[in-house]
């Protein structure tokens, strides 16, 4: 149903379904709760929003290097990748099944393609509950095998979904990708343009962009926005096995990093790179 995109294709030009297919071994893509099952969000239409037949998340079983895998791909073009009840349950429920399998000694490699503004405001607390369940499942699952996140762009990864990114064993980013809790526009709106000018692209990417995040050790790999490069980086991450200490568990390291920080002067991205580059605390 979905023909894999050839090597050389820009990953960010693909839909969520095409991204999932492009990552999996050729011919192994099998979608769960596909669009023809029409399991839509029941909450959008009453609020004047046209629902999507997959609610903006694609669940694809398949293989990576011949090993069982599942790709959870968020469609950034639908409601900014916002997580609602159905899309959130697709992610959480899938991770819970992968956990059940892992506990029985069967590994299914989980890959999360995180393009999301966070929780979908129209579904609010239903999204909040789903995101908490996603977090719980990632923490449980990653003690068995790596959970790999990809933040390729163009939407970026924010809110509760960014916290999920922080919980992943490994995160792969492109230069176009952005990863942060609050999006630049929300910060400008809530704290003023003096705090952050969301129109200043250079500033935004020097703060939360892929290159900056890799340079400061907050994510693991910077790759080209290209199908083959991302597919290769995902496989490399699984080959590495789980990290000795997950990044979100490195409390001493990050408390030490923050303790040495001037919190009043306006520190910028390049200055932070110099400070955090080789602090000897990496894995």
């Amino acid at each position: 149903m979905t023909a894999p995109a050839p090597t050389g294709t820009k990953f960010t030009e693909l839909s969520a379904r095409e991204r999932a297919a492009a990552l999996l071994d050729p011919g192994t893509f099998r979608e769960l709760i596909g669009p023809f099952e029409r399991l839509e969000s029941p909450h959008l239409e009453p609020q004047g929003v046209v629902p999507a037949s997959d609610d903006g998340v694609v669940v694809a079983r398949g293989q990576l290097d011949g090993e069982e895998a599942v790709v959870l791909a968020v469609e950034g073009l639908f409601q900014g990748g916002g997580i609602g009840e159905v899309s959130g349950a697709k992610i959480a429920g899938t991770l819970e099944l992968a956990l059940r399998d892992a506990e029985r000694g069967r590994t299914v490699r989980p890959v999360l393609l995180l393009e999301s503004g966070g929780i979908r405001l129209q579904e609010a607390n239903l999204g909040l509950l789903a995101v908490a369940e996603i977090h719980a499942a990632i923490v449980a699952l990653r003690s068995h095998l790596p959970v790999v996140g990809v933040v390729a762009g163009m939407v970026g990864c924010f809110g509760g979904v960014a916290i999920a990114g922080g919980l992943c064993s490994y995160v792969i980013m492109t230069r176009e990708g952005r990863l942060g809790l609050n999006g630049p526009q929300v910060i400008e709106q809530e704290a003023g343009v003096a705090e952050l000018d969301s129109e200043d692209r250079r500033l935004v990417w020097e703060t939360i962009g892929g290159e900056q995040r890799v340079a400061t050790g907050m994510v693991d790999a910077l790759v080209e926005d290209e199908v083959g490069a991302i597919a290769g980086a995902v496989r490399t991450a699984f080959d590495a096995g789980p990290p000795v200490v997950h990044r979100s568990s490195q409390v001493e390291r990050y408390e030490a990093r923050l303790a040495g920080m001037d919190t009043l002067d306006q520190l910028d991205g390049p200055a932070l790179r110099a400070l955090w580059r080789d602090d000897g605390g990496g894995r």
């Binding site: 769960l32 429920g93 405001l121 977090h135 919980l167 609050n182 705090e195 952050l196 979100s248 919190t263």
Partner: protein, 268 residues
């Protein structure tokens, strides 16, 4: 005084002078059960200026993670693992440039990780919502609990974004948001609407949330003791109980249907 501090001092019977001053931590028993109490409170002197009003920011996220992990490590060779009690009164996360640069998402992930790790290791983790429970702050401090208790009080609010911010982001008036909330309970702020989604272990009625008297504190202590004991006895260390509640069968019907469908299609 913030509700987070009021209830911390009432239940843990302690003042606190550790670092950072915004993350209160004390070990105190609840009806004979060992417990660690944690609460995030305003600190006008906080190092990060955007997290001085009780927001859960960089220092708070990592400090919660440290305080929770201390307990997991200390009880590692004991048969009984002490309870963790998260007193929740958090207006949200700070909106700041510096916060994003220094990885606020990771600081919140650290707290989520620590609470989830404690729960999986067998510590009863109980959240007690006494005030605001907003957004990323609630995800980091409360939502990984295997029992959530809340005071039935008009000052208790559970939502993904403050009402003021939601109005601005969605370009709607507060009145319009209230109108929508009547139709879609998941978008409401009041705790009764949240209870309809089935994630609460118990809604505690008849307690003065702002200025509790001795009787109110005893009632909450009883509820905490019951929650600790029930978490310890049911043997599950995940969050599946939230979907098994009678309220969830109604309020989260789609969440259940998706899981059923996934399970059918998972292996073929």
């Amino acid at each position: 005084m913030s509700r987070g501090r009021t209830w911390f001092e009432a239940l843990a019977g302690a003042t606190f002078d550790g670092e950072p001053a915004s993350v209160l931590c004390a070990d105190e028993s609840v009806r004979g059960e060992r417990a660690r109490f944690l609460s995030v409170v305003p600190d006008p002197e906080a190092r990060f200026p955007r997290a001085r009003s009780g927001e859960l920011g960089l220092e708070e996220g990592w400090a919660l993670a440290r305080r929770v992990r201390e307990v997991v490590a200390a009880d590692d060779d004991r048969g009984d693992r002490r309870a963790l009690i998260a007193i929740v009164d958090v207006p949200g996360q700070p909106y700041g440039y510096r916060e994003e640069l220094l990885g606020l998402h990771l600081a919140l992930a650290a707290a989520v990780d620590a609470y989830a790790t404690a729960r999986i290791a067998g510590h009863p983790v109980v959240a007690l919502v006494v005030g605001q429970a907003i957004s990323g702050a609630f995800l980091a401090h409360g939502m990984q609990a295997n029992r959530i208790l809340a005071l039935d009080d008009s000052g208790v609010a559970v939502q993904v974004m403050s009402k003021r911010s939601t109005a601005r982001v969605t370009r709607r008036s507060v009145e319009e948001l209230d109108e929508i909330a009547r139709e879609v309970p998941a978008t409401a702020y009041d705790v009764t609407s949240f209870a309809r989604l089935g994630a609460l272990h118990r809604l505690i009625e008849g307690v003065n949330a702002e200025e509790p008297d001795a009787e109110d504190v005893e009632m909450v202590r009883d509820a905490l003791a019951e929650a600790i004991s029930s978490a310890g006895h049911d043997g599950s260390t995940d969050l599946s109980g939230r979907l098994a509640s009678p309220e969830a069968r109604q309020g989260r019907d789609a969440s259940l249907r998706v899981r059923e469908r996934l399970a059918e299609e998972w292996s073929r």
